[in-house]
Symmetry: D2
Subunit: 439 residues, 4 copies
C-alpha cells in the first residue's frame, strides 16, 4: 500500500498546496466559515460518501460564542459576493458551518474518525516583503482575518484524504468519518459536533496540527501532551453615564472597571501545581469622549495544565471581576463562551504511527510526544472516543516556523502538507491491513 500512497501524494501534491492557498486567501473566523465550507462541499460532492452540512453537523443550541447576528450577516454577504450559491448559504447560515463526510466501505472493520479544523483568526496578516503568502500572492483578502494557525493546511489535507478514500474504497474496509470542524479557536466547535453523535462508536480517532515546534520538515510526533484546559469568558460591565465635564462625580465608570479588571486579571498568582495562562484579548468600553462610559466588555480566557488549574484561574477571575466592578460601583456579569479540556492521548498509538510510516521517504523521525502548551477543543472529541473505549491521538507535523502561531507573519513550509497527508493515509491503511491480516 505504501507505494500507492507515495504515488497518490506525488500526483496530488500540487493540488494540496493550491487548495491550502485558496483557503489561506479566504480566512474566516469561527462560525463564519461560509466560503470555506462551500469550497469543502464543492470538492467533496460527487464522491462516494455521505456528506452532511448545516444543523446536522453541529447542535445549534450547544454552540457557545457564536458571533452577533450582524457580524454573521456581513460574512454571509461576503460569501454571496464570493459566489456561494444562495440555496447553499440558506442551509448553513446563522453560523452552521463545517461539514462531515462519511465513507462506509460496507465491509466489516473499524470505525476510524479524522478531524480537520478549518477556521481562521482575527489577526491582520503581515504585509511585509519577507512574508511568503504576500510574496507569492496568496495572502488574506479579508482584512483583519488570517489563517495564522495552519488550519488552511489542515483543511487541505482533509480534502486529499477524502480523495484518497474515494479512489481506494474497494481496497479498504470499515467506516471512515472525516470531520471538517468550524470554530476551533476559542474552543467552540468541537463540543456541538460531539453532541450530534459524530464521535459515537468510534474505534480510532486521529487529528493533528502543523507546526507547534520549530523543527525541520519530516519530523512527526505521534501523540501530544500538554493540552491546557481552558475557559473562554466574556465579562460585561454596566455603569452609569454622566457628562465628564459637568458632573464627573455622577457617573459609574464602566470603562475604568473593564480596564482595571484587565490589569488585575493579568496579575492572578501563578500556581504551584503547574502551568496556567490568562489573557484578556479584547476590550471595548464607552461611547463618547466626554461621557463617563456606562458600558464595557472584555473577552478573556484562562488555561491550566490540568482542569483543576483552569478552575483555579476561573475562580480567581470571577472574584477579581466582581470586586473590580464593585470598586467603581458598576455591575458585572460573566458569560462562558468556550471551553477546552486536558486529556491524554493513547500511548498505544505511538507504535501504530511508527509502524505505519516505516517506509516513508518523507518522514525521517517519529517522536513519541510533542508538548502543546496550548488549548485544543479536539480534547472534547478525544474524551468522547476514550469514554467509549476507542483509542485517540493528536499528532504533530513539525515545520520550520519563522514566527509563532497567531502572529501576523506566521507561515509554515508547505512541504509539511505532504508529510501530514502521508501520515494520515499510512495510519488508515496500516490499521486496515492489520485487521484484514489478523482476521
Amino acid at each position: 500500500m505504501s507505494s500507492k500512497i507515495a504515488r497518490f501524494i506525488d500526483d496530488n501534491e500540487e493540488k494540496l498546496v493550491q487548495q491550502r492557498r485558496l483557503f489561506h486567501q479566504h480566512p474566516e473566523v469561527g462560525f463564519t466559515e461560509y466560503i470555506t465550507t462551500y469550497e469543502i462541499y464543492h470538492f467533496l460532492r460527487g464522491m462516494d460518501c455521505d456528506l452532511a452540512i448545516g444543523k446536522s453537523v453541529l447542535s445549534s443550541d450547544e454552540r457557545m460564542g457564536v458571533p452577533a447576528s450582524d457580524l454573521l450577516e456581513l460574512s454571509e454577504q461576503r460569501a454571496k459576493a464570493y459566489g456561494v450559491p444562495e440555496e447553499f448559504l440558506e442551509k448553513i447560515k446563522g453560523g452552521h458551518t463545517g461539514a462531515v463526510a462519511t465513507f462506509d466501505t460496507g465491509r466489516k472493520g473499524s470505525h476510524i474518525a479524522l478531524r480537520f479544523d478549518i477556521d481562521a483568526l482575527p489577526v491582520k496578516e503581515a504585509g511585509s516583503s519577507g512574508h511568503i503568502p504576500k510574496n507569492e500572492g496568496f495572502n488574506s483578502c479579508h482584512n483583519g482575518e488570517m489563517h495564522a494557525c495552519a488550519h488552511d493546511g489542515h483543511a487541505s489535507i482533509g480534502l486529499m484524504v477524502a480523495k484518497f478514500l474515494n479512489e481506494n474504497m474497494d481496497d479498504l474496509s470499515g467506516k471512515f468519518t472525516l470531520i471538517f470542524q468550524p470554530a476551533e479557536e476559542g474552543g467552540r466547535g468541537a463540543e456541538p459536533i460531539v453532541s450530534n453523535g459524530w464521535l459515537d462508536n468510534v474505534d480510532y480517532f486521529f487529528s493533528g496540527h502543523i507546526g507547534v515546534e520549530d523543527l525541520p520538515v519530516g519530523k512527526v510526533s505521534a501523540t501530544t501532551a500538554g493540552f491546557l484546559a481552558s475557559s473562554k469568558v466574556d465579562a460585561y460591565f454596566i455603569g452609569k453615564a454622566a457628562h465628564a465635564g459637568l458632573e464627573p462625580n455622577a457617573g459609574k465608570n464602566a470603562l475604568l472597571a473593564a480596564s482595571a479588571s484587565s490589569i488585575h486579571l493579568n496579575g492572578i498568582a501563578r500556581h504551584k501545581d503547574g502551568s496556567t495562562r490568562i489573557n484578556v484579548g479584547k476590550i471595548e468600553a464607552g461611547s463618547g469622549r466626554n461621557v463617563i462610559a456606562d458600558s464595557g466588555k472584555i473577552e478573556f480566557e484562562t488555561r491550566g495544565s490540568t482542569s483543576e488549574l483552569d478552575d483555579y484561574m476561573m475562580s480567581e477571575a470571577e472574584r477579581i471581576i466582581h470586586s473590580t466592578a464593585g470598586l467603581y460601583g458598576v455591575e458585572s456579569s460573566l458569560e462562558t463562551v468556550g471551553k477546552a479540556l486536558n486529556v491524554s492521548c493513547d500511548d498505544d498509538l505511538i507504535e501504530v504511527v511508527r509502524d505505519s510510516v516505516k517506509e516513508s521517504s518523507l518522514i525521517d523521525e517519529v517522536r513519541d510526544v510533542a508538548n502543546l502548551g496550548a488549548s485544543e477543543d479536539v480534547t472534547f472529541m478525544i474524551e468522547k472516543v476514550q469514554k467509549e473505549h476507542g483509542k485517540a491521538t493528536f499528532m504533530v507535523f513539525h515545520s520550520p516556523l519563522k514566527a509563532g502561531h497567531h502572529q501576523s507573519d506566521f507561515n509554515f513550509d508547505e512541504k509539511v502538507l505532504s508529510v501530514g497527508l502521508e501520515t494520515y493515509l499510512s495510519v488508515l491503511t496500516h490499521l486496515n491491513n492489520k485487521e484484514s491480516s489478523s482476521s
Copy 2:
C-alpha cells in the same frame, strides 16, 4: 416690538416643539448631521436670505476629529434612506455638515451673529417608562445616538429665529448671521467655521444653552462663566501579537497598555490653581481572545478652568501615556482631535439682556451669570468676536432637569424653547431699536 414677539411665539410654539422632536428622533453625532442639515436647509430655503452649505460653511482642512470614512458613509446611506436627495448629499458628504443663513436688511446697522449647535451624542437613549421622549413617541430612532445635550432644542429655536427675521425684514436694520454649527461635542465644529470668516466683523454675538442648572423654566442667565479649556485627544498603542497559550511571553500587550493608561490618566493629581477634568471615554483594544493584543486606542479629554490648567493636564497625560506604553514595551502616539478655550463673556451684555426682556411674561428672572463648569467650542467664536472688538455672550435658558446632561434619560421642559426664542428675538430687536433711536 415685544407684543409682536409675543404673538409670533404664540403662533409658532407648536411648530417649535414639533421641530425639536423631529431633530430628537434623528440624532446624528458630530460631522454626520446629514439629516439634520437637510431639515435645516429644507426649512430655510425660500426665505429671503443667503444660505450656505458644504465647504463654504467650514474649512475642510481645519476640522479635527472627523469620523472615519466608513462611518461617514454609513450615516450618508442612512440619510439617503431617510429621503435626503442625492444631489444635496453630494454637496455636504464627507462630513461637511452645518449651514449658515445670512439676512442682510441692506440698512445700516450692527452685524449680529447667532450660533445654534446641532449635533447629538453617542449615547443610547433610555427606554424606561418615565422618559418623556419614549412616552410621547419621539425618542431616538438611531440606536446608540441621542440628543442628550439639548442641541435639538437649540436647532429648533434657530429655525424660528430665522422665520421671525424673514417675516420682519422690513422692520429691521443691519445684518444677521445665523450659524447652525455641527460637531460641538468634542470641540470640533466651531474653529473651522471661524476659519472660514463667518465671525469676521461681527458687532454682537449671541449663543446659548438650554438647561445647565436644574431650575424652573423662566430663569435666564445673561452670561456664562466657567468655560473649561479642553483638549480632545486619541492615543494609539502598537504592540506585538502572540499566541496567548503557547508563548505569552512573546507578545507586547497593547490592551494592557491602553487599560493601564486609562487607570493612570484617571489619577492625574488635582491642581492647586483650579478645576481640572480628565475622562477616558472610549477604549478599544485587541482582536481575539487567545491573541495577545497588538493594538489599542483610547479616546480621552482633559479640561481646565484656565488654559494653563488644561496644558498641565495634557502634559501629565502625555508623560503617562508614553511611560505606560514603555511599561509594556509598546509604542504609543497621540493625536489631538478637538479643542475648546476659556473665555469671559462681555459683562455689558448683562444689562442688554435684562432690558430686552423686561416686558416678557415668560421670563421672570435674568441672572447675571451661570456657571458652566464644562467646555464649549463656542469659545472660539467668542474669542474671535472679542478680538475684533465686538461683544459676545453665551446665555443659559434654565429648565428643570430630571437627569444630567449626556445621561441616557436627559430631557428638558419644552416650555423653555419659547423662553430661549423670546430671549434671542428680544435682544435682536432691542439692539436694533437702540441703534435706530440713538441714530
Copy 3:
C-alpha cells in the same frame, strides 16, 4: 500703645528669632512635642499666669491618631537625653503635650483666646547649601522630622505675646488665654482642647499662619477662606502569608491590596461642586521578600472645600478600599485618626485688624482674605467660639517662600516673625482700648 508695642518688638526681635531657631532645631511630630512643650513651660513659668500642662490641656480620650506607645517612648527618651526633667516628663508622657497660659487681669473686659500650633512634620530637612537653616546652623537635629510648616515661628510668636502680656498686665483688662496646641498636622490636637473647655465663653479668637502665599514681608491677611474639610484615615489589610516560590497561589496578598487601594483611591472622580483632595501619604506592607505579604497599612486623607465634598471623598474611599481588598481576598478595616472642618472667619474682624495696625511701620498692607486651600484644625476652635457667639479669625502673615509648605527646603523670611507678633499685640491692645473707651 503702638509705640510701646514697637519698642517691645525692637527689644525682643533677637529673642523672637532665637526662640524660633531653637524650636526649628528640635522638631517633634504631633503628640511627641516633649522638648517643645518643656521649652514653652520653661519660658512661661514665673510669669503672672496660670499655666496648664498634661491632661488638663487636652482630653486624653478625645485624641485621635496618637502614635504607637513605642514611638512615644523613643521621643520621651530623646527628650530625657535633651535634658527635660523626669518629673516634668512624667506629667506629659503618653502624648499629653501642649500648654495653656491664662492671663487674667481681674478687670472687666473681653475674654480673648489666641492659639499657636507647635508640632513639626515627618519630613527630612534639606541639606543643600542654599537652605538657610542649614547655612546658619539651626537645621533639624532630629533625622526625619522638620518644621516645614512654620509652627516653629508660631510657637515663638506665642511666647513673645505672653512676655508682652506679662509685662503689661497693669495696662490691660479682661482675660487672655494663650493656647500652645500640639498635633495640628493631621487635624488631631484642636478637638481634644476644645473638649476640655478652653474655648468656652471666648469673646474673640485669633490664630494665624506664616506664609501660605509667596508675598513680600509686610502683608497681612485679616481673615482666611478656603479651609478644606478633611478626614485622616488609616486602612488596614489582613491577608495570608505563603512561600512566594513554593505556593504563590496559597497567599492572600495584602501588599497588592494596599498598593492597588492607593492607586484606585488616587483615581476618585473630581466633583462638580468644588475642590477635593486625596492623598495616600504612607504605605507599609509585608515582612520579607519571599513571603506573600499578610498585612498592609495605608495612611491617607481626603479633603473637600465643603464638608459634603469631604463626605463624598470618604464614601468613595471606603467603597474602594473594601472592594480592592475583596479583589485580593484580603480583609480590610478603616480607622479615622483626624478631622478638620470648613468654617468662615468673621468678616467684622477685618476692620478690627485693619484699624489695629494702622500705625505699624512693619505692615504695609492688610488684605481682606487669604485663600488657604488646605485643612486646619483651628476650625474646631473657630466653630466652637462662633457657636457661643464669639468672633473668630485666622490671619495670615505673608512671607516670601522659596519652597512650598511641607517641602524639605521650606523656609520663611524671619522678619515676618515681628509682623506676626505686632499684629497679635496690636489687635489685643486695640480691642482693650476700644472697650475702655466705649465703657
Copy 4:
C-alpha cells in the same frame, strides 16, 4: 555501623528535639543570627575540631543584603541581653554570623562537606491554639521573627552530626566540614562562604531540607530537582514632597510609583519555557499623611526554573520599574541583594543514599527525587563542588505539614529530626566504609 548509629540516635533523640526548640524560640533573620551562632559555638567548643567563626566563615564584602547597621545593632543588643558574651559578639558583630567546624581524622579519605542553614524568617508566629510550638511553650520569643522554614531543625541535626563525629573520630577516615550557614533566606549566605574557600576540594557534598512535601515521616528523597534560579532585588523611588492639600500638583509621588510598580511587576507575563515567580514582599513609602511621598522602596524577588527564565523575569522587572517611575516623574534605581541558581544534583548519589539507609528502621522509602519548586542558595555550593568534580546532592526529609513553608502556623513532626540525622550519619559512614573496603 548502623547499629551504632541507631544507638546514638536513641541516646540523643531528646537532645535533638530540645536543641531544635531552643533555636525555635530564638529565631533570628539572616545575618543577625547572633544568639544562634553563639549556641552553635557553645555546643561545639571543646570538641576535637577546628571551629571557625566571624570573618573567616564568610567573605565580608561578598555578602549581599546585609541589614542596615541600626537593625544589626538592635539584634546585637538582644543577643547581649540573652547572655551572649561581649567578647564573642565582638568577633561576629556587623552580620558575620554562622560557623564552620572541621573534623580532620588525619587519615586518608574523602573530604565530605555538609551544610546546615540556620536563619529564620520575618514572619510573626501564629498564636492560635492548634499551633504546637504555642501549645508546648516553645514558640518564638522574638516578635515578628519565626523559624517557619525548619532551619531550626537543620541546625539541630547539624549539631548532632558533629557530636557523632566527635565521638567516633577513631573509626572514621578523611575530612568532614560542617557548615552552619547564615542567611539562606534571600539567597545571601552561601556565596560568601564559597568565596572563602570552604567548598574547595570537596569530594562529597550533602545538604537537605525538612518538609517540602506533605508526606508521612520516614520518606526521604535522595536528590532534589526544581531549584528555581532567583534574584532578590530592592527598588528605590525618589520623588518630590509637596503639601497634599495646598499644591497636590507640585509633588512627584514616590508612593504611587512604588505601588504601581508592585501591581505591574505582579503582571509580568508567564513564559512558555517553564515556571517563573515574582513577589513583591515588602513596600514602604512616604512619611506623613498630608505630604506627597518623596521616597519609596520595594523589596522583590524573581524566580525561574532555569537561569534564562529568571533573566527574563528580571529584564521585564527592570523595564517595568523604570517605566512606572517615569509615569509619576519619579527617579528609580535597583540593587541586587541576593541570588540563587538552578543546578542538578548528582544522580549517582541516589544509589549511595539508598544503600546507606538500607537497614534503617526509621526510613521506609528512599525516593529518587523531590521537586522543590523554590530557590535555595545551596545551589552556589553544589555548583562549586561539581565544578571541581566532586559530587553533590540536596536531600529532603519529608514530614506531614499542617501549613506551607513560610506560613505563620508552619510546623513539622519532630520525629523527622531523627530521620534526617540518621540519613546524614548513614551516608557518611557508608562512604567511609566503601572507601576502606575498596582500599
